[in-house]
Symmetry: C2
Subunit: 220 residues, 2 copies
C-alpha cells in the first residue's frame, strides 16, 4: 500500500494533516462547526490554505462542506456506517490478498505480536491504535494506487464510532475479536490467502452486526 501521493498546497496539506489528527483523536467530534477564521488563526495562516485543507478533508470524508454556509465535522447515521462496513467487507479481503504474498517474515511476526499485545491491553485508546496498526500492517504489502487510500478513508470515517463502541462495551468485552485475530494471523503465517480473506470478511461482517445492536451510538 503506497503512502498517499504528494499533493499541492504545502500549507494546506499541513493544516489538513493536523486537523485530521484532531478529528481522529476525538478532539473535534462529529457535528462540530468548523470556522475558517478560527483555523487560520490557529495555524498562523490566511483563510485561503484553510479552504484548501477543508477541501482535502472533505475528499477524505471527514468534513462536510455546504455552499455559502460552512464546514462541519462529518457524522454518519447507523445506515451509512453499516454501508461503510459492507464496503470494507468486500474490498479489504482483496487488499489483504494483494498484500500477503509481499509480506516478509519480520512484518508477519510484528503483526502476530500486535495481535498478542492487543489481548493484554485494557486502555481503550491504546486498543484502538493497536487494532488500526494491526490491520493496516496486514495491508502494507499491497502496492495499490486507490484501494489502500479507499480503505484508509473508510477507517478514518468510522473511527469515531469505533471509539464510541469500544467505550460502550470495553476493549475486550468480546473475546470473538481476539479469536478472529488469531485465526487471521494463523492463516497469514500459513500463507493461505483464501482462508485469510474468509476470516477477515467474517470479522468485518460480525463487527457490523454488533454495531447495529447499538444504535444509541449514532443518536444526535
Amino acid at each position: 500500500m503506497t503512502t498517499t501521493a504528494i499533493r499541492d498546497g504545502a500549507a494546506g496539506q499541513r493544516i489538513a494533516d493536523s486537523l485530521r489528527q484532531s478529528i481522529l483523536s476525538g478532539e473535534y467530534r462529529p457535528g462540530t462547526r468548523i470556522r475558517q477564521e478560527d483555523l487560520a488563526e490557529r495555524f498562523g495562516a490566511s483563510r485561503l490554505p484553510v479552504r484548501d485543507a477543508l477541501r482535502i478533508l472533505e475528499s477524505d470524508g471527514l468534513v462536510t462542506l455546504v455552499a455559502n454556509t460552512g464546514a462541519w465535522v462529518s457524522h454518519l447515521s447507523l445506515a451509512e456506517c453499516e454501508e461503510f462496513y459492507q464496503i470494507r467487507e468486500r474490498i479489504e479481503p482483496l487488499l489483504l490478498r494483494l498484500s500477503l504474498p509481499n509480506l516478509d517474515r519480520v512484518t508477519l511476526e510484528r503483526i502476530a505480536s500486535l495481535a498478542d499485545e492487543m489481548q493484554a491491553n485494557r486502555d481503550i485508546d491504546t486498543f484502538l491504535h493497536l487494532d488500526r496498526e494491526f490491520h493496516l500492517l496486514t495491508y502494507s504489502g499491497a502496492d495499490t494506487s486507490m484501494l489502500g487510500d479507499t480503505v484508509q478513508r473508510l477507517w478514518n470515517s468510522t473511527q469515531h464510532y469505533r471509539r464510541a463502541f469500544s467505550n460502550l462495551i470495553g476493549p475486550h468485552a468480546n473475546r470473538a475479536v481476539h479469536y478472529e485475530h488469531q485465526l487471521l494471523v494463523g492463516a497469514m503465517l500459513r500463507g493461505d490467502s483464501e482462508d485469510a480473506e474468509r476470516v477477515l470478511s467474517g470479522h468485518i461482517r460480525r463487527t457490523r452486526l454488533e454495531l447495529a445492536h447499538h444504535p444509541e451510538i449514532f443518536a444526535e
Copy 2:
C-alpha cells in the same frame, strides 16, 4: 444511489463539472497539462475558483496535482486499471443488490430496452454512453452515501481506456458483452439478486481480463 451532495464553491463546482465533461468526452486526454490561467480565462473567472475546481477533480481521480508544479489529466497504468476493475468486481455487485429491490417496473423495462438498444448501435460514442447509462440505471435504486460515488469515480477514471478499448475492437466485436447484459436483465426481471450479483461480477472480471490483453492502450 443519491446524486452527489451540494458542495461549496458555486463557481468552482461549475468549472469542475464542465471540465469533468471535457475530460470524460475525450477532449482532454490523459497526461495533458492543465494551466490554471487558461481555465480561468476560458470560464471568465479568476484563478481561485479554478484551483477549487482542480481540487474537486483531483478527489474525483480525474486530475493529478503536484505541489508548485501543476496539474495534469490523470492517466492509469495497466496495473492500476486492473486494480480499479478488481475493486469494481467486488463492490458493484453489492451496489446492485442494494438497488434491485427498489427498482420499479418502469425502470426495469427501461434497463431492458437500453440493453437492446446497445445491441443495435454501431457508433462507439453512443455505445459507451448507453453502456454507462445501462449500468448506472441498474444502480439507481440504491440509497447510498458513499458506494454510489465510489463506483462513479471508478467509472470516470477508467472512461478513457474503455473508449480506447472500444475503438480498438469495435462496439460489438465481442458478443459476450451483450450476452452477459441479457443474463443480467433476466436475473433482474426475476428479482434474483444473487444471480444478478454473480453475472455482474463475472462481466466485470471478463472485461478486466480482456483489457489486460491490450497493454498497448496504456503505452505512453
